[in-house]
């Protein structure tokens, strides 16, 4: 009886943890370790700083909005852009090729360079933390 209770308890704790893991972010974790032997972990705070980084009048928020759990609006065309945080849009950060494509485009547009795996993982950490 006690054993059953313990097992149930263990599952109850482990399940939310397992659900929070993001396979796309995990692939960036592997890449970040390759990039930098001293890699520790991803940070939602660094991701948030990256999200608000403004260069040449452009930031992530220019199109995705100040709150990633709400609709954004494309800075030039005015088209609605669906929320970026998985809490508001479950499809986000589930398709590795799509994620890599948009990091590829938008890092060049906003930062004028490619993002590192560390930055991509930080960014996803921030997105996963937005409720």
């Amino acid at each position: 009886m006690n054993k059953l209770l313990l097992t149930t308890l263990a599952f109850a704790i482990a399940l939310p943890l397992a659900a929070a893991a993001n396979p796309v972010q995990d692939s960036y974790r592997a890449a970040a370790k390759q990039e930098n032997a001293g890699f520790k972990d991803f940070s939602a705070a660094r991701g948030q700083a990256l999200y608000s980084t403004k260069t040449a009048d452009m930031a992530c928020a220019s199109c995705h909005g100040n709150t990633p759990n709400a609709n954004g609006k494309h800075a030039k065309t005015g088209k609605d852009i669906l929320p970026l945080s998985p809490s508001a849009n479950a499809q986000r950060f589930t398709d590795a090729a799509k994620v890599e494509k948009w990091f590829g485009r938008n890092c060049k547009d906003v930062l004028n360079r490619a993002c590192t795996a560390q930055e991509k993982g930080d960014f996803i950490a921030y997105m996963l933390s937005v409720k």
């Binding site: 030039k76 065309t77 852009i81």
Partner: protein
């Protein structure tokens, strides 16, 4: 009397000239604007930052040029993989405007003669384009409520205040 004759001659020749150049000086959108069956990649990729503009809005040569420069797409990087680009270009070229007889190939839909004629300043004031809900002539769906379905019927136009 003689000038009247000339005028009559000019008028009678008019339809011929129009036939040679086509409507809007040959810069006319296609009919249909979009095939019943659309390409899923085109819908997905071209419809992220703006509506997926119907292939019939521009001639084939315009689409070829646009698709060849996606890494610098009106100031944004919209690069695709070679495979995606090939598939989408094929869909656009096959379904491009079938009524475009001019040798022109504008990069913007708004630069075409038919667009300018349909959106002249007497009907749409310059201020209308600047309204926050409109923002840009690229934002078709601001007024053409069914634009994403390539439906530009004027009965479905609703210009935001």
């Amino acid at each position: 009397m003689r000038s009247l004759f000339c005028l009559a001659l000019a008028i009678s020749l008019c339809p011929l000239a129009a036939l040679a150049d086509g409507k809007y000086g040959g810069e006319n959108r296609g009919k249909p604007l979009q095939p019943a069956q659309v390409n899923a990649k085109w819908q997905q990729e071209c419809g992220s930052c703006h509506i997926a503009y119907a292939p019939g809005l521009l001639p084939a040569e315009s689409w070829r040029k646009i698709m060849a420069g996606l890494d610098q797409h009106f100031g944004d990087n919209a690069a695709l993989t070679a495979q995606e680009s090939k598939e989408i270009t094929a869909f656009l070229v096959v379904n491009a405007s079938n009524r475009w007889s001019a040798k022109t190939a504008p990069m913007r839909i708004t630069e075409s003669a038919w667009f300018k004629a349909k959106h002249n300043s007497r009907e749409i004031s310059p201020d209308t384009w600047k309204r926050p809900a409109v923002k840009s002539p690229a934002n078709c769906q601001a007024c053409h409520t069914e634009a994403a379905k390539a439906d530009f019927n004027e009965h479905r136009i609703k210009i935001p205040r």
